[in-house]
């Protein structure tokens, strides 16, 4: 009899890369809608530009590397990178800036390291950091959120598109008229000018906890994030770790010195904290993989965000924190290898029956 032999695994895995990436994209939809509502349609243009250049960069690199471009394009990972980059960028960004960031993310941060699965850095954050370093003036052009009573010049969709394509605002409208300091910027410059947090919180751009509008984007981001948790696409350790790492030091400092340290609520609802906790830090390739390692990785990111926001030169530190912890991932994974049932702990109790790293 000729039996057909089958190798493990015997069941096809339920999750494919493409379906995971598609669900991540779906989970970002509420946050994207909120973003468009508060900051105008610029987000859509940014996402389209980033998507075109991410996909083109991916296809070009696959061709250069002698692989079939369809393979890489069908897993939607380039679109997730484009979406995260679009969230990081101000809604008014000229297309060549977005394109540079998108190409850097896909070509340098992803494919030069070996493509999906081998990139040690989060591509979207690498692209954003490159833009932050190379084009600082464009990265500060955040418009005020549309809240009804904040006095500022609103751009129509057409004017916004025109800015994305040409980099020119409509006549008689200056950058000062459309752009506003972000809540984190306002907090940082206010504290530098020896004002108390309570005074800064009374500014019209500030809401209950963080900035007006920003809080709502955070809430909608969290909706998508919780859906991903329920779908078991991300695990709880990284979001919880980011929260702990950021909010515990923020809470302690707030209790000690509330006048010069904004509270945990401000940190949670400002900048990209929630997006980072659920979508950026949880990138399956560049994050730590063991359960304990994920927690450490998340806490490290959270604490670095707090450190950069509090003592650093930049107003928000999400991208830098993620990239720095990406560097630490190999060490974290090595030190937190899960215990294998039936094996001794090679670090504490080296036994002759178990091959240790030194012995082999």
């Amino acid at each position: 009899m000729d039996f057909e032999r089958k190798e493990a695994p015997y069941r096809a895995p339920r999750a494919k890369v493409s379906s995971i990436m598609l669900q991540v994209l779906l989970a970002l939809v509420p946050a994207a809608l909120a973003h468009v509502w508060f900051f105008g349609p610029g987000f859509i243009f940014n996402f389209l530009v980033a998507a075109i250049f991410c996909v083109a960069g991916e296809a070009g690199m696959m061709r250069l590397r002698g692989r079939a471009p369809e393979l890489a394009l069908s897993d939607f990972s380039a679109l997730v990178t484009a979406a995260l980059l679009a969230f990081a960028l101000p809604s008014l960004t000229p297309w060549w800036v977005t394109a540079t960031g998108a190409l850097f993310a896909v070509v340098v941060a992803k494919h030069l390291y070996g493509g999906l699965g081998f990139n040690i850095f989060n591509p979207a954050m690498a692209g954003y950091v490159m833009l932050l370093v190379a084009f600082p003036m464009y990265m500060n052009l955040w418009v005020a959120p549309r809240m009804g009573d904040i006095d500022y010049e609103y751009l129509t969709a057409f004017e916004s598109l025109r800015y994305t394509l040409t980099g020119h605002l409509p006549d008689l409208v200056s950058f000062d008229a459309v752009s506003r300091a972000t809540p984190l910027d306002a907090m940082k410059s206010g504290l530098n000018n020896a004002r108390t947090t309570a005074e800064i919180q009374t500014l019209p751009i500030m809401g209950d906890f963080g900035g007006r509008g920003w809080e709502w984007i955070g809430n909608f981001t969290a909706v998508g994030g919780f859906w991903l948790l329920i779908q078991k696409i991300i695990r709880w350790q990284i979001p919880v770790g980011v929260g702990l790492g950021l909010l515990v030091p923020a809470g302690i400092m707030y209790l000690v010195e509330p006048g010069s340290h904004p509270g945990p609520g401000f940190h949670l609802f400002s900048g990209a904290t929630i997006l980072c906790a659920f979508f950026i830090a949880t990138d399956p390739v560049s994050a730590a993989t063991s359960p304990k390692g994920r927690l450490i990785y998340g806490i490290g990111i959270g604490f670095l965000i707090y450190a950069i926001r509090t003592w650093g030169a930049y107003a928000d530190g999400v991208a830098f924190a993620v990239l720095l912890m990406n560097l630490a991932v190999p060490a974290i994974d090595y030190l937190t290898r899960p215990h294998i049932v039936g094996h001794y702990d090679a670090h504490k109790d080296p036994s002759p029956g178990v091959p240790t790293d030194k012995g082999s």
């Binding site: 340098v108 490159m130 370093v133 190379a134 084009f135 600082p136």
Partner: protein
């Protein structure tokens, strides 16, 4: 020493064993000062002079240097030469010296120079050591000048600006193509990217050369295959 041996050392320094591109030595000044062509070229020339001098001196005194204390002695020799070069720069190119700042004195710690003293000059006669110093120095200068040229072009949008640092006279803006460029290129990360691209370009050229040589070796047919590959 004959002319072919000299040419051999020069070629090794410029291409095969280029201190920056192949040995990856002296990267600190290489990455720090190459924001413009003139800065890179100036530091390259200073390094070339020190490297030639130190190789000659180390080679001439190699019989009397005790191996146990050779490194401090190399450093003393190099430091004396760097002091001379620094004074010369201060006297003749004060603005260039000001522009390069600490990186002229820091040539003392340029590991490419100690490496040539240790690897080559301490084992070879004076003539060859001089040739090696000139070759390696020229290779380093070429790399610094290329990096400076590329980074200046991309980062500031100009070509050969501030050449007055070398030649004196009024400040020159050089050939300005665009006003302001891609800031990243003149920041430290840009230096790493530019160097990496140059290293990759050298690998591509070398591989192509090797492939060509292999094809040429294979073309005459199986009869000559006994002599093996012409270039390993």
């Amino acid at each position: 020493m004959n002319a072919t041996a000299f040419g051999e050392r020069l070629k090794a320094g410029l291409w095969q064993d280029n201190p920056g591109l192949v040995q990856m030595l002296g990267l600190c000044p290489l990455l720090a000062v190459t924001t413009t062509f003139v800065n890179g070229f100036g530091l390259g020339i200073a390094t070339l002079l020190v490297l030639g001098g130190s190789n000659v001196l180390v080679s001439a005194t190699r019989r009397w240097i005790r191996t146990e204390i050779r490194i401090p002695i190399y450093v003393l020799i190099i430091a004396s030469l760097v002091t001379c070069i620094e004074l010369i720069f201060k006297a003749w190119f004060p603005t260039l010296d000001h522009s390069l700042g600490i990186f002229i004195p820091l040539i003392v710690t340029n590991c490419a120079i100690v490496a040539r003293a240790e690897i080559f000059a301490s084992k070879n006669p004076v003539g060859q050591s001089l040739a090696d110093g000139i070759g390696m120095g020229a290779g380093f200068t070429l790399l610094l000048a290329t990096l400076g040229f590329v980074r200046e072009l991309i980062g500031s949008g100009s070509i050969l600006s501030r050449m007055d640092l070398l030649f004196g006279g009024d400040p020159m803006r050089g050939l300005v193509l665009v006003d302001g460029g891609w800031l990243l290129a003149i920041l430290p990360p840009g230096a790493f990217f530019a160097l990496a691209i140059l290293v990759a370009a050298k690998s591509v050229l070398d591989n192509r050369q090797r492939q060509k040589a292999r094809d040429a070796g294979r073309a005459p047919g199986a009869a000559t295959s006994a002599q093996g590959p012409t270039i390993s």
